[in-house]
């Protein structure tokens, strides 16, 4: 692992001061827009994502031929999302890839049997990119779906993990850790069911380490799930209190 930056100091802290298993600071808010059926804003450290959901509505065009729900995702990254401002054409290869991945993970969570011949549009915009962009996008999309009142089997959340030189797994990889050359593994999961909806690796892990790294990412997923769940409850109490619904819960 020559030339690779040490991701974990001997004092047991990562480059930004976190311990190996710690997530970055997470902030989230649901219902940030009025226009869409559901929306959410999510911050995981310095990665900041907006998600908006439209639907379910009647599927258009040829898509109606199938009986299944159609999940239409769009992923894009703002020009100003990285320190070097780049013009990112919508629908570039990376976005296309992420879009597919989002669709794959979300279709595992949405109770599709409830929405035959319907379409759900999910738009994700990364406002600031600082690592684990896909994972944060998915988490934001999940919140937006819940905000839109779409039935889910379970929270679908994603988390990344890496491995330090000393073979200690690290949770929730920041951009600096990504570019320092650590391997990156992304897992999207249904944590309660312990089902993995999607898994991606930036490079090969040795078989000896793969299991522990996946487990680390899964533990991260569970933790994020708890945070999102708390946020959803908070949101419900908040909007509920206006209509005096909060006490019902």
């Amino acid at each position: 692992m020559a030339g690779r930056f040490e991701l974990l100091s001997e004092q047991g802290l990562r480059l930004d001061g976190r311990r190996p298993h710690e997530l970055r600071h997470i902030k989230c808010k649901m219902g940030v827009f009025e226009q869409p059926d559901g929306s959410a804003y999510m911050e995981q450290g310095n990665t900041k994502v907006l998600a908006a959901v439209y639907g379910p509505h009647q599927a258009k065009g040829k898509k109606t031929e199938t009986n299944d729900v159609i999940i239409n995702c769009q992923y894009s990254q703002a020009t100003f999302s990285t320190s070097e401002r780049k013009n990112r054409p919508r629908g570039d290869r990376k976005s296309q890839e992420f879009k597919m991945y989002l669709q794959q993970a979300l279709s595992a969570a949405i109770k599709s049997e409830l929405y035959p011949r319907s379409q759900i549009d999910v738009y994700v915009e990364v406002l600031q990119a600082d690592g684990a962009n896909y994972a944060v996008s998915l988490n934001a999309a999940t919140l937006a779906l819940i905000d839109a009142g779409i039935c889910l089997n379970e929270f679908v959340v994603a988390c990344t993990a890496s491995l330090s030189k000393s073979n200690i797994p690290l949770t929730d990889i920041s951009n600096i850790e990504e570019v320092s050359g650590g391997p990156k593994l992304t897992v999207a999961a249904l944590p309660t069911a312990e089902k993995i909806a999607f898994l991606e690796m930036s490079e090969r892990f040795h078989i000896d380490h793969l299991e522990t790294v996946i487990e680390t990412a899964m533990a991260g997923c569970r933790e994020i799930r708890d945070i999102l769940e708390a946020a959803v409850k908070e949101h419900l109490i908040h909007i509920g209190s206006a209509a005096d619904w909060g006490r019902v819960c």
């Binding site: 692992m1 001061g17 976190r18 600071h25 600096i176």
Partner: protein, 981 residues
């Protein structure tokens, strides 16, 4: 537990970017002190309340916080086991890491030593000690401030734990925190902020119990020099250098000082094949061997040629001002060289050094130059390595160090000082003592040689070690086979054994069994890491520095006779013509029937009355080996020669008693042949299995220009050397035979060896298949498999092979190309150094052998130089210089009356002529060898001419030589040299 804090940073990457990074501040970082009653401590207490260091400045127990400059400059002080209870802030650690990776490594070693009580405090992530950079504050000022904040915090933090009633009742003194800094600005600010502060030098000098520690302080300036005039041109700043490089006005390269002429050096620059020549003190401009420097190329009209003159610096004394005479001498030398260069067509690009990109200063071995003045603390240190300039140091222990080998390091080299400034690090022991001298060799060649640590030893198998039934189950049982080993006498680390038996189908089964070291050294543990860092066992005369602990090298792994041992076997089925029909690899248990020396094996083979299984097996092997060798030669493998000698060493004094040239028997070549075959078979196998990460060894074909000196030398003798391919070279070498000079062929081969490139380890994924070629062996692929006890490369190859046949599991690093590449890099370096160290040890012992002796020996002129003959003495495998022109001091240390003897050097056919005596390359000569001990550090063998006799130059050899004088002056055809006793 975690708070979020963001900070901004600007970096240059073409344009200025604003980078925002998260920075978490924590409340769970302990202070590491056993006094503390607040912190959650996640570790054993590193800092303790007991304090026995008496300082006249701080007369109470105290912890030290070190500023970055103190760590960087005073690492030698820190390495002494004196300072304890030291707090290293991460701010400091990061700065050290950026400034010097070697010091970073050294400070980490100190931190890891539990007994030293050094504690790393992560102040950068502690909520109370983090310092946000203020507007307009430089990074440096911010770091200084962070260090002060942390010091202050520590002091208050500890105070708050020491105010309780119970503490006061205990009557203990309050432990305080002291900042050590050599930065005057930081110090002033610290004082203003009520922080206890001192400079490193003040503090060290205040330690009354350790008066000698002050010797190790780094010296940037010496008192009497402040007014001295600059002697060197100034260096460009790093920014100016970068600018100059960008505009292609300057060139960058690593500086190599000449060993022979202290006023000359060379800078390796990419575009210039032979590098750029630097001549003269001002042009050298304080560069030290190894430094990365920036140079300016001189206009072509000022180019010069390498002087080919041996010029050694005369003794100077610490208080000397640069003497006129010396400057004069330097000027004369330069003028001469330049004048010569005008006529000479061999002028090369010449430049001057204008700046230093990076210093590569390290620690140097050497001695103190005896001082003319008594009671002075200022001294001149003379490094053992001639490429390194003398160094000024201050020490109070000169009297005790006078006859010792010591280590000194350079601190800086100001413009107004002729020599760099440095400080004493430690003493190695008395001069001339065998242990000291070996230590010098090991240090100078960067050979790791300290004892194996407890942690490393803890990974050794527990004794008594036994083979369990599970072990047998996993291995092929070969205990019944007639396996034996053949090695040099006295070999205790036996890593290979052989067998050969006839099969029922008439074919032969040949097995090479290699010690199964990788069974005992498991990847990634401390033992493995240590072995990987050492890379190889190093052999000095009478001393072996093991790569793995002795329990493995001489016992459990060594395939000694009559004992059951684990082996990794490579077994072939061959026909009688040594064609391989099948090959297989497996782990096995063997029981060597006999461990033999080459000589014993030879006797057994030759003695036809012996008809036991071992003898039969050896005869088969010997016959097959000859076929294999012939086949290899026909493919173009080279037979190279390098004079190799062995010392008989006195077992008690370790001093050499006898010198003998290593004898080569059939059996040497027999063992070698099968090891080559095993290596090649394994190389083919692992390269096929692991296309990305197999550890292989290649030997590149030398560029044709490398052969120029060889071709020239042979041409003078009327032979043409073909260097097109290995095969044509091999053939033309075979043809170089002179009836009247039996040693001629060997000498040609010695010269050929010197044209070769280094063979190197590499990773299969890093090169194209065609580049795997091993030139010397004429093999398309090669690796090292057969000596895992003494080479780490072989352990890696064993692991790869074991993984490929399912005998052992893989692990992440094994298959990683990048880490394997780094490993190969280290192995190549260690092997080169081990080789040099071995040679240095032979040189040292040769000197010891000649101490107090004078011997006349037959030798040969290896090549002719402008002012000397390079002479080779086959009997000792020894090479030396016979100077032909004497300067007024007698360069070889022997005063001679001004002689009228003049030698004329002919550039055309490389000869030296004096009267009617002509010296050509390869001519036989008789020389008198003696040891010149006038320079205690560089004892050297002096070669003086005996024959052919030149009046006024050759040694007068009493009555016997009178006859020679009467005889007509000998010409080069005179070959009646008889050895005199």
């Amino acid at each position: 537990m975690q708070t979020l804090r963001e900070f901004t940073r600007k970096t240059k990457r073409g344009n200025i970017l604003k980078i925002v990074r998260e920075h978490y501040l924590r409340d769970d970082i302990g202070c590491g002190s056993d006094i503390c009653q607040h912190c959650f401590q996640n570790d054993v207490y590193a800092l303790t309340a007991d304090h026995d260091l008496q300082s006249s400045l701080f007369k109470y127990p105290h912890y030290l916080v070190l500023d970055t400059n103190v760590v960087l400059d005073q690492i030698d002080v820190l390495e002494e086991d004196v300072l304890r209870n030291v707090i290293i802030l991460t701010t400091v650690l990061n700065e050290v890491k950026h400034k010097s990776s070697s010091i970073y490594k050294r400070i980490n070693e100190i931190i890891h030593d539990r007994r030293r009580n050094f504690y790393v405090f992560v102040n950068e992530h502690h909520k109370d000690t983090y310092a946000d950079r203020e507007p307009d504050e430089t990074a440096n000022d911010r770091n200084d401030r962070a260090i002060r904040i942390a010091t202050k915090w520590y002091d208050n933090h500890l105070k708050s734990s020491q105010v309780s009633k119970s503490f006061q009742r205990s009557g203990r003194q309050v432990t305080r925190v002291v900042l050590l800094t050599d930065d005057a600005g930081n110090r002033a600010k610290a004082e203003a902020e009520d922080i206890l502060v001192a400079t490193a030098s003040e503090y060290v000098k205040s330690l009354s119990d350790h008066p000698l520690l002050a010797d190790k302080l780094s010296h940037k300036t010496f008192a009497n020099e402040k007014q001295a005039l600059p002697q060197y041109p100034p260096h460009l700043s790093l920014r100016e250098i970068l600018e100059g490089l960008k505009q292609k006005k300057l060139l960058q390269g690593s500086f190599q000082a000449s060993r022979e002429n202290y006023l000359e050096g060379n800078v390796n620059v990419e575009q210039y094949e032979k590098g750029i020549l630097i001549q003269g003190r001002e042009s050298l401009n304080r560069a030290v061997d190894g430094d990365i420097v920036a140079i300016e190329l001189l206009p072509q009209s000022e180019w010069s040629a390498p002087s080919e003159i041996v010029l050694e610096e005369k003794n100077v004394y610490a208080d000397d001002l640069p003497s006129e005479e010396r400057t004069e001498e330097e000027k004369v030398m330069l003028q001469q060289v330049r004048a010569a260069a005008v006529v000479d067509a061999e002028r090369t690009p010449t430049g001057r050094i204008v700046g230093i990109v990076r210093r590569k200063w390290r620690q140097y071995c050497g001695i103190l130059q005896p001082s003319l003045i008594e009671d002075t603390s200022r001294h001149i240190f003379v490094p053992a390595d001639r490429k390194i300039p003398r160094i000024r140091i201050e020490t109070r222990q000169a009297a005790t160090l006078q006859n010792q080998r010591i280590i000194v390091t350079i601190d800086n080299w100001p413009r107004n000082s002729r020599y760099p400034h440095g400080h004493f690090v430690r003493s190695l022991g008395p001069l001339g003592d065998m242990n000291t001298e070996n230590e010098v060799i090991l240090l100078e060649h960067d050979v790791p040689h300290c004892k194996f640590s407890e942690e490393v030893l803890s990974f050794l198998p527990k004794m008594p070690w036994t083979i369990t039934p599970e072990d047998y189950a996993k291995r092929v049982d070969l205990r019944d086979l007639y396996i034996c080993s053949v090695d040099p006498p006295g070999c205790t680390d036996i890593d290979d054994a052989l067998h050969c038996r006839e099969l029922e189908n008439g074919n032969l089964e040949v097995g090479v069994h290699i010690a199964d070291v990788s069974h005992f050294i498991r990847p990634g543990n401390a033992l493995d890491k240590e072995a990987a860092a050492r890379g190889t066992t190093v052999y000095l005369v009478g001393k072996r520095i093991d790569m793995v602990p002795e329990l493995l090298s001489s016992n459990l792994c060594s395939l000694v006779g009559g004992v059951e041992r684990f082996a990794f076997s490579c077994v072939w089925e061959m026909d009688k013509e040594a064609n391989i029909i099948k090959k297989r690899f497996h782990k096995s248990v063997i029981k060597s029937k006999r461990a033999m020396t080459y000589e014993e094996a030879q006797v057994l083979i030759d003695d036809s009355t012996q008809d036991n299984e071992i003898a039969k097996s050896l005869r088969h092997l010997n016959r097959l080996a000859k076929i294999l060798k012939k086949r290899r030669m026909d493919n173009g493998a080279l037979v190279l020669a390098s004079p190799e000698i062995r010392f008989q060493v006195d077992s008690e004094t370790h001093e050499p008693l006898e010198v003998e040239v290593k004898q080569l028997r059939d059996t040497n070549s027999m063992v070698e042949e099968f090891m080559l075959l095993a290596n090649i078979s394994v190389a083919e196998h692992i390269a096929a299995e692991f296309s990305e990460c197999a550890v292989l060894r290649r030997h590149p074909k030398p560029p044709t220009t490398n052969f120029d000196p060889l071709i020239k030398a042979a041409r003078y003798q009327g032979f043409e050397i073909e260097t097109e391919t290995g095969l044509s070279l091999s053939h033309s070498l075979d043809k170089c035979v002179k009836a009247d000079n039996p040693y001629f062929n060997t000498m040609i081969r010695i010269l050929t060896t010197r044209c070769m490139m280094q063979a190197v380890y590499f990773i299969s994924g890093s090169l194209q298949k065609e580049e795997f070629f091993h030139y010397g062996l004429a093999a398309p692929i090669y690796t090292h498999f057969t000596s895992p006890i003494r080479r780490y490369s072989d352990i890696m190859v064993h692991r790869l092979l074991a993984a490929s046949i399912g005998a052992d599991s893989t692990y992440a690093q094994l298959l990683e190309r990048k880490s394997n590449e780094e490993l190969c890099h280290n192995l190549n370096y260690r092997h080169k150094m081990a080789q040099y160290a071995g040679r240095a040890s032979v040189g040292l012992n040769t000197h010891l052998f000649f101490r107090g002796k004078e011997e006349d020996e037959e030798g040969y002129v290896l090549f002719v130089r402008k002012n000397a003959l390079q002479v080779l003495i086959p009997k000792y495998g020894l090479e030396g210089t016979l100077y032909l022109k004497t300067d007024k001091d007698g360069k070889d240390g022997h005063e001679r009356a001004k002689s009228t003897v003049v030698f004329t050097f002919s550039e055309e056919d490389h000869t030296q002529r004096c009267g009617n005596v002509v010296f050509h390359s390869f001519d036989p000569v008789t020389v008198r060898l003696s040891l010149d001990s006038s320079n205690v550090q560089h004892e050297k063998l002096v070669f003086r001419l005996v024959k052919p006799y030149i009046k006024g130059f050759s040694v007068e050899t009493g009555s016997e030589s009178a006859a020679d004088v009467a005889a007509p002056p000998p010409t080069k055809k005179t070959k009646k040299n008889q050895k005199k006793k």
